[in-house]
């Protein structure tokens, strides 16, 4: 059954703030092989004008994927079968860099639902801001739910 179009535009409650840890940025940077000192060394990061170690561009996926999964993909009324889901598209629009010490709130929204060729396409948008309300990054993910065999 196609996904319910009435979900388009629905936003979920703001998440609890995700606390950006220095060690998490280091762990993520090492996992992707990003060896530049601004990802690893607070002094080097400060010398470049960042408040603390800075996150690589795809770092926000950690908390946007987890929170949109929890709120949207697992919404029983929307009824997504995650075993048939693959990641289609991913997009980030940055307002300011993420640094260790940030507390980041996500507001997740169902931006688009389409159906084509028996497959369903769900685009989620995560508006990420600091707990003080400063916009940080907007993250879009398009998930493809493949048709049932």
């Amino acid at each position: 059954m196609p996904l319910d179009q009435s979900y388009v535009g629905r936003s979920y409650p703001p998440t609890e703030p995700y606390q950006v840890g220095r060690e998490k940025i280091r762990e993520f940077a090492r996992a992707i092989g990003a060896a530049d000192p601004e990802y690893l060394d607070p002094e080097a990061a400060r010398a470049l004008g960042y408040a603390d170690v800075v996150a690589p561009p795809t770092f926000p996926i950690i908390f946007t994927m987890a929170s949109s999964h929890r709120q949207i993909v697992e919404d029983p009324e929307l009824g997504i079968d995650y075993s048939r889901v693959v990641h289609g598209d991913q997009r980030f629009a940055y307002r300011r860099p993420i640094v260790a010490g940030d507390a980041l709130v996500c507001v997740n929204t169902v931006e688009e639902i389409t159906s084509r060729g028996g497959h369903d396409f769900l685009t989620t948008r995560s508006d990420v801001s600091t707990d003080a309300g400063e916009p940080v990054v907007t993250v879009w993910a398009k998930l493809v739910q493949r048709g049932e065999e």
Binding site: I32, G33, D36, P56, P57, Q90, R91, A93
Partner: protein, 129 residues
Amino acid sequence: MTFEPQTFRVTRADLVRYAGASGDFNPIHWSERFANSVGLPGVIAHGMFTMALVGRAVTAWAGAADAVVEFSVRFSRPVPVPDTDEGTEVVVSATVKGETEEGHTRLALTATCQGEKVLSMAQAVVRKR
């Protein structure tokens, strides 16, 4: 203008490390048995790991972590990662595609594995230094 392509080696160990760091523990990225059971030829890299490697190339070309204004990809083909010491390779390249209204530089990005494109419609907008 074209940038010097960057080559990244990807092994199973990289996928395990990325799974832990990102929190994405989908078994198609570490279990051959599970990957085969859902019709994949074998373990494949996380799409977001490939995107992270492209992000490394983009930040290197742009010259700073915070020079990236926009970054988007479509995952068009999986990156199979064999269980060998060598794993596989992802090659990332970029071409300048003009300027945005704000005066930023638009880059068209490609990522290939074994000669096949694994992303489509991949692009970044970067701030000039």
